[in-house]
Structure formats: C-alpha cells, structure tokens
Symmetry: C2
C-alpha cells in the first residue's frame, strides 16, 4: 500500500498517511483543532475543508450538504474525503470563540470563557525512580497547559476517584476545573461535552436557558410558573410566609428547587442532551427570590432598613442545593444591589452594558415592583418603585394576566378596536391593554388631568364623540364600557372603572416619581437621557406610545425607547458563558447606588405629580 | 469624686479615670492588649503590672501571688490596684506569641499563628441610606483589621446563620476564618476559645495532643491502639484487606474515625474543655494510614511503583470526615513523600528542622518499616527499610510488645541482669531487650561476626565464661537461656534462639543497608554526619550503645545520637500551631528525594554486609 503526503496549508504541517486514509483521520492524527460535530459519521456536514491542488468528485453524502458554488471551489467534507494521492488542504472551519447574542435592539459581543473549564491531559505513568503521586503527575500536565494551575487544589471526593479513573483511562483524562480547584475527573477527552443552564427566577415565572459552554450556543429554552405562588403572589407576601412559618424558608426553597430540576430535565430533553453534562448554573432573580433560592431568610429585606444578607457573587456546589446536574457542578449566583434591587437588575445592566456607556441611559424593568436604573459609566443610581399589581392585570375590575382571552391592545379611531390573545371572545384586559385604553381616553380628553372619567356632556374633543355611549354608570360613578356583555366569553361587560384608573395612576405615579428622583440624584435633565431600555415581559408587550401618553415614561423620551426583552435572562447567560462577565457583575453591584424612595423628602410631591396625566384639552 | 490620670508608659497612652477605678478597668477601657486569665477575680495572679512613680501597699490577695523582690520593685496586680492619685504604669505581661516546645533533646522556637484564626468585630448596624448587606458590613470591619480580608468568602451554610446571629449578638461577633474563607460566625467575643488536636496516626498506636491555639499550650495527651489491627498488623496486610474487600477502605476508615472521635472526647474530658471549641485537626501518619484516614485506596502503594495518590497538604471539612468537633472545623493533613515514606516522616523533619540545617543529619524512625532521612539544607534523601516486626518483639521466640511483664533492658556483668516493665515476673523480651542481649553476646564473642551463637568450647573472651551454662540446645542448634522456667511468670524458659538472631540480623541489615545507600547517594562519608535523630517509641526505649554495637546504627555515630521522642507528633503539633510550619511541610515533601532501596543495584551487597556483626574477638 502506498503512502501519500497531506499538506495542511495554513497550519504549515505535513503528514504521511496510507492510501485510503480519510482527511478526518489525518486531521485527528495530527492533533489539529478542528471539530467533527457528528463524530465523522457524515451526517452533519460541518467538517468542511478546501482541497487546493486537486479536483475530487463529491460523494453522495457531500452532495447532500454542499452547494454548487462550494463544489466548484473545491470544498469537501473531511470525513468523506479519502487520500489516494499527495494532497494540499485548507481547513475552513473557524473555532467559535466569539459569539453574538442578539437582543431585539442591540448586539453584544464577548469572548467565551465559561465558568467551568475542561482540560484534557495525557498524564505520565508512575515510575519507580521518580515516585510522583497521582495528583502531582496530573498537575504537572495541567501546568504545561496553563502555568497558573501550579497551586490548583483537588477536593477529597474527586481525589478518592483519581487513582482508579486514572488507571482505567490509561492515564488519559479530562480535568473539570473551577477557578483554583479540580472539581471533577473524567476518563478520556470530554472537553467538548460541557453544558450550562442560565436561570432567571422571577416572582411569577422562571426561565431556563440551556447553553453549550463549548460553542456558546443556546440549545433550548424552558419556562415554568414559580410554584411559590401558592405561598403568596408577590415578594412581600412570601416574605411574610417565611417569617411566620418555622420552616417557611426551607419549604419555599425546596418547592423552587423542585421546579428548577424539572426545567433542567425539560431543557436537556428538548435538546436531546444529558443533564450529567451540565456543569454550571447561573442564577439571577430579585433579592427575595435570590434569598429563597439559597435558603437565606428574606426577613430583613422586609423590614426597614431592608438590607440583603449578601450583595456579592456566591458559588455553591450543585449537590449542596440538590440540583440534579453533574455531581461536580457548581451554581453561580449573581449579586444583589439592595433589598429591593436584585441580581435580576444586575443582569439587565450586564446585558445592556449601561455601566460602560458614555451616554446616560435609563433602564426600567416593570413588574409588581419597577426596578429603575439611571446613569452612565460615571455613575449609576437605582431605585425600586412599588407599582403594585395593576400592570399585571390584578386589582383591575376586568383585569387578567396576558393569557388566552385577554385583550392585549386597544386603539381608538372612529370606533374602538381591540385584539385578543388567541383570537377568542374576550374575557378581560391585560396590562398592555389597560395602558392603551387609558392613553386613548386621555388623548380624547375623556379622562382629565387628575384622572377623572368625564361624562359625555363634558367632552370637548370632537373625536371623543363616537364614544359617548361607552360612558356608563357603575357603582355610582362613570365607567368606560370596552366590550358589551353580548360580545364577551362570559357574558359580562368588560369595562374600565374609576377605581381602575386610580390603580393605574398609583402604579404609574410610583414609577414616574422614581424616574424623577433618579434624574435629580444624577443632577441631569430628562432630556439628557440618550436611551430608555425597557426590560422584562411587560416592557416588551406594552405600546411605548401609550406608556409615554399616560406619563409612565417621560413623553419626551418616546423616540429613545429600546425593547430588550428578558435582559435579566440575557445577563444570566452572559455570566454563564464568560467568567469575565460573571466577575464584572460584582463591580456592577458595588457601583450602583441604591436610593430608597420612601426616605426621599421630595418623594410624596413627585408621586402626587406623577399620578396626574397630561392635559390634552 | 475626683478624676486622676493613668499613664501607660510604653504604650504612650493617658487615660482619665474616676477615683477608685481599678487599673484593670482602665486597661480594658483603653483597649490595651493585656490578659486577665481569671477575668479579674484576683485568683490567678497573672495580671502583673509595675507602678513606676508610687509606692503602694500590697493587698492581701497580692501578697499571695507576689514575692518580696517583686513587691520591692513596685509590681502589683492590675485587678487589685485602685487609682487614688495620678499614676504611671508599665504593663509587664508579654503576649504569649512565641512558645517553646521542649523535646528531649532540642528546643524549637516558632511563632504561634494557628491554622484557624478568630477575629472579633463590632459590625455597623444596617442603615437605610447606605443599604449595605450583612456580609458587606462584616467584611468592612474585617478589612479594617487586615486589608487582605478584602476578598474573603463565606460559605452558604455560614451565610444562612449570619443575619440572625448578627442581630441576636447586637452585631458583636467573632468570625472564624481559614485562609480566604469565613468558616464560622460566633456571637460575642470568643477569640480566646480556640482549641486544636494534633494527631499522629501510627500503624499500631494513635496519639492525640489537645492544644490551646490561642496560648499554644498543650492541654492533654490521649492515646489508643489503632483498631485497624484487627484487619492486619502491618501496612501490607491492611492494604491487602483493602484490595480484597469491596468496602475494605470504607470499613477501615470508619473504624479509625471512631477511635479518633473517642480520643477527641477523652482529651477534652481530661482538660475539662468542650469539643465544640476544637476548630482544627492536623494529621500525620505513614502513607497507608494517611490514605485510609482519608478514604483513599492504598492499593497502588502496595504495587510497583508504589506511588501515593497525593503528596501535598490537603484540607477537608471535619464534617466530611464525621469528626466530632466544631461544625466549622477543618482537618489539615500533612503531605506524604512517597508510598513508603509518609506524612509522619515529614513531621519528623518539620520538628527537627533538618531541612534547614547546615550540618548533615540522619533521622531514623524505626517501626515495622524504618524510615530514614539523610541530608541537610542542601539536599535530603530518604528511604524505607523493611525491618519487619523483630524490633516490636514479633516473630521472636520469646518476643512480646513493650508491655507489663516484658524484659526491656539486659546487661551482662558477672551475671546477667535485667529489668522488667512493671517489676513483675518476666513473660518475654521486647525489642529493646533483644538489642541489649544480642549486643552483649556480640561483645562477649558468644555471637560471632556472621551471627552464629557459639558453643562454650569456642568462647575466647574470659568475660564470656560466666555465661557458658546459658548456652542450651533448642531444636538442634544453640540457644541462649535468659530466664529459666522457674523464674518466669508462665513457667516456660525465656531464651534467644539462633532464628531470633537471624530475624534481628535481617531487620538491622535492612536499616543498615538503607543508611549506607543514602550516605552514598549524598556523596558523603558516614563521619560527615553531625547528628543522628532517633525518633519514635522504639528509638526512645532502645539503648543507643546496644544499637551501635550490633551495627543497627554505624558505631562511629554513637556519640552523635539524639533521642527526640515522638517527633512525628511534634511535627503535627507545630503544623497545628503555625500556618507557616504547615505550609512549609509542602516544601519539605517536595524537597526530599525518595530512594527505592529494592531498585538499587548495590542494595543486596549492602544488605548482606549489614547483616553481619562487628568482630569483638
């Protein structure tokens, strides 16, 4: 059998191989850094190379993956190409070290450097004359790869496995490393099998992002309702439960951990992966969720001066939290800023990089509490505005969550138009529709500056006249009929009451006052703000024009609004994929100054002012 | 009431106090570093101070503690001295930071800096405007005490206790710190309650030293037999048990841990202390005991090339090993050098400081294996000589352990004289007596160069003649009668057989060959050795003159022998009291070169030569 030379052009390497050897075998033998995602089965079409000095006929499998243009250029699959003559090859594949996470508004570039490293080494066999211990021989090889592994430690449980695994694997092993500690040993080369999950734990919903820590790709997204809802709908009621029940914290923690384990199962199932390959979990959430996740009492968050137990990153073994991933796995919890501005807000800042921006930006994440951050690289201030549940459709007469049957958007033209989630008969209105309705009525002058729903006699705007019959009487005051009983799913009227308007005024007044106070704390004018980052589900659904019309967001900023979706979750993913980003979260948490709105002497005035509407008369 | 000024001269501090205030109150108010061991009750007499500018009359209590000379010098007790005028005081007490451990031969000075630190801090209360988390406020105070606490971490279980303990203790707490981690939080100031236990785990016996980590004092010593003896008397048989039984390692580990817990109980009981105040444990032992203690398989120590799993220090949580001390406690395991030269030998080197010595020293720790170390600060070589159990009285016809009824020393004058442990009728001979008898017979020419027990006809030394009747016939060859049946406890003769002599020759030949080979490896002559350090129980009991006569130790070194007792245990204590010493043990383990005797081509020749005796004809 003849031998032929394969030349790898860019790598400046030559290898002599027997005839019939595939290029995959040649690449592997030469130890070149090149991926075969399907293991060389010819089923993924990813191992594209270019043959520079020959025209080879494409195989049937290649024809399935390669386009005409590629075939003309000499592109082939390494696993399908056999060597029957001297050949010169260019490796086209680029290692995916830089990865972009696309948000709805911005692209964020960073280098993948996950929280957990895997290092494959071929350890020397023990020898009689050198008498080096198993750990010492392993460390020597690790140090050859990275000198700062010199002082790396191994914990006792891994150490117990080391001698046997080392010998069973013929001394070819992969060390799983976190920081200065070898947290696991695997037989053979498993460097590419490394998954992680970024969690965003909200009071109401939990989202899990399953990530490939080697490629940086998002493999699956799973979400679930937070089962702690049975202990209370909001942060305050859960804290109360924790304080009043001896095992309240433990109970809420284990309830939460159960659903996290289900989300882990669900996401690996979706991606057809194994949970044993998950080594890292990142966590963001508000301070109360953060504390309950860790089993820390949220008691002192609820009482003045509302301080959290911890405001820096924390690493915990996954086994200590009973999270079912690889037994060596670690959980990385992002830091809180204050009792009511948590790790989720740190995630938003991390994702938006507003702490590195020269321009002044305003980030708002609206839920039951609205977390607001204002500033630039020079200074960041934050507050939490107690908006209450109005934006989530609660405590609104016809209110409901943004689920099937909810009116989600409303517009006023010659008549009233609305859209319903799921295109069904409407059952109620969700938060975004509430904003649209009130904004429309304010613009038509049907709701006045102080929030009063006027009677038709007092309409002054001609465009309001088509809606004079929508004004009905409810419990002695005016109400606005949105859908008559005959057109609803349940046969009851859907309407907006004077009380509903007041609820909305309280909610938007709090947010508006928060923004005003932060603007003052920064010594700027509202017009200095260059971008408004609207994070979170509600921020993403609501119509920015309506939000500005009712004064939830200063109207002059309407053209500067960016919807960024679940930015807290994006922050969690960034921290998972990059140790630098994770470390940076500590800098963010200490940089942001927290302003307790209740302690500000001008809060009441700002709040009262914020409750008012613009005068469209 | 008048105020007076107390001047503390050396501290250059002045304090104004009301008349009648005691100096103890003044010292405490001024926050000076001065101990009141009995709490100022006037019952210990330790709070001596000197009054420089007044002659005060001594109180009755003072007269109990102070000598005439002290009274003349103006020495008083701070707790007894009340201020009725301006007064200048010199604090005589020196903080006990430097402590001497006296060994039988040498004094070793070091600075107390235990493996666990306790730091008392008065944490700021939380405030609304600063919103600092509990951990952050604690860290701020710790950093004031030591700036490198900046990046200190707290583990999750301690963090869970922090908010409640902080508030229950009115924010006055003591942080228990190991390295870069807060491992415990205690209410109030507990800085002085800090105990540790230094263990020396031998194949046969285990010793526990209970130490006060604040003062450096040894409070109690407890010891027990190693209960693993039921799985095998020596290292090889225990390793075999571990390899042949599925749960062999776990079983031997838990058996060992049980007795360690008993020794912990016993030592705190003796010292009337609480085991909850024990925060640190240090461990030395041979490599097999080290591995079994940690639950590491000793399998690969038993097979060529005999490498250990680990040869550096290791820290383990006490709870991970189920050792019943303070739940925050840590176990610090000293490093091994090789499969047959373990952490106990590192302890001997640490205690003797031979690695820092300009002079060449030889350390020998004789047991079933004799660990030998030779060298100086320039170079250290070590080996393990398989002496077998002869020195421990085993496999000797009349042999027994050094217990009650054992003849421990023998001398030959006009007749044979011996001493018996416990002054009872003798039952057998222990190792030290074996040495004395053989040495005596060699000097008398009754045992010849090759170890043969001569018949009376062949005696040439007139001093041998009184013992001609002691030569008896046993199993067809000569034997030496030590005690006739009528004088023994059991009515059987106690004698030395030709086989016994051969056993001793094998044992001393191995040690002697080990020494010779190390001398060659160091490229020195035996006479270059300036000191012989004999460590371990056997080394302490045996007569150095006998040991040199039979050639166990080169006779030219007889005047250089130092008996240092349990130097391995001393090393364990040093590491417990001083983090520097503990860290230094890693340098020792990597500095010492291990020589595998079986792999040396001149070993057989040296061994054969070492089996011979000197010719006293």
């Amino acid at each position: 059998m003849n031998n032929y030379t394969v030349t790898f052009k860019h790598e400046n390497r030559k290898i002599s191989v027997c005839e019939g050897t595939t290029l995959k075998e040649a690449i592997t033998a030469e130890g070149l850094d090149f991926d075969f995602p399907c293991g060389g089965m010819g089923t993924c079409g990813k191992c594209r190379i270019k043959i520079l000095d020959k025209n080879l006929k494409a195989t049937e499998k290649e024809l399935k993956f390669l386009e005409g243009k590629e075939l003309k250029e000499g592109i082939h699959l390494a696993c399908e190409t056999k060597v029957y003559s001297d050949i010169t090859v260019q490796l086209n594949q680029k290692k995916n070290e830089v990865y972009n996470i696309l948000q709805s508004s911005t692209e964020r570039t960073f280098t993948i450097k996950p929280l957990i490293e895997k290092v494959y080494v071929e350890v020397d066999l023990p020898s009689l004359d050198k008498q080096k211990s198993d750990l010492k021989r392993l460390k020597e090889k690790l140090m050859q790869k990275k000198p700062n592994y010199k002082n790396i430690k191994m914990n006792i449980s891994v150490l117990r496995e080391l001698p046997v695994k080392l010998r069973e694997a013929n001394h070819h092993i992969t060390a799983v490393i976190h920081g200065n500690e070898i947290i696991g040993i695997e037989m053979g080369n498993t460097e590419k099998s490394m998954l992680g999950i970024a969690f965003d734990i909200g009071t109401t919903t939990i989202v899990a992002y399953l990530m490939d820590l080697y490629t940086g790709k998002k493999l699956a997204v799973s979400s679930a309702m937070n089962p702690q809802i049975k202990f209370g709908a909001d942060v305050i009621s859960r804290t109360t439960f924790a304080n009043q029940n001896e095992n309240g914290v433990k109970l809420m923690q284990s309830t939460l951990l159960d659903v996290l384990n289900k989300l882990i199962e669900d996401s690996v199932h979706k991606a057809t992966m194994l949970k044993e390959n998950i080594y890292a979990i990142t966590i963001v959430g508000n301070t109360c969720m953060h504390h309950l996740f860790l089993g820390l009492t949220p008691k002192y968050i609820a009482y003045i001066p509302y301080v959290p137990v911890i405001s820096e990153t924390l690493e915990v073994k996954s086994s200590d939290l009973n999270l079912h991933i690889n037994p060596s796995g670690k959980v990385f919890v992002l830091p809180n800023i204050a009792g009511f501005v948590g790790a989720d807000t740190v995630g938003v800042i991390l994702a938006s990089e507003m702490d590195k921006s020269k321009d002044i930006k305003l980030a708002i994440d609206i839920g039951t509490n609205g977390e607001i951050v204002l500033g630039s690289s020079k200074k960041l201030v934050s507050c939490s505005a107690a908006a209450g549940p109005a934006f989530e459709g609660a405590q609104i007469s016809s209110g409901m969550r943004g689920a099937k049957g909810a009116i989600d958007h409303v517009s006023f033209g010659e008549s009233l138009n609305y859209t319903v989630i799921g295109n069904e008969k409407p059952e109620g209105i969700c938060g975004s529709a509430l904003l649209d309705i009130v904004a429309g009525l304010v613009r038509l002058g049907i709701i006045n500056k102080r929030g009063k729903l006027l009677s038709p006699d007092n309409f002054t705007n001609p465009n309001a006249l088509p809606f004079r019959n929508n004004i009905v009487t409810y419990e002695g005051t005016n109400a606005f009929l949105i859908v008559p009983p005959s057109e609803t799913a349940h046969g009851r009227a859907i309407m907006l009451t004077q009380n509903d308007i007041t609820s909305l005024q309280l909610a938007k007044g709090a947010i508006s006052a928060g923004i005003s106070i932060l603007v003052k704390k920064c010594n700027i004018n509202t017009s200095d703000i260059k971008e408004v980052i609207l994070a979170g589900a509600f921020g993403n659904y609501m119509d920015p024009h309506s939000a500005c019309t009712i004064g939830l967001i200063p109207p002059e900023l309407e053209n500067k609004i960016q919807l960024v979706g679940n930015a807290a979750g994006t922050g969690s993913m960034l921290a998972l994929l990059s140790n630098d980003e994770y470390e940076h979260s500590n800098a963010i948490a200490s940089k942001v100054t927290y302003i307790e709105l209740g302690a500000q002497k001008d809060f009441n005035r700002e709040f009262a002012h914020g409750m008012q509407f613009q005068d469209y008369k």
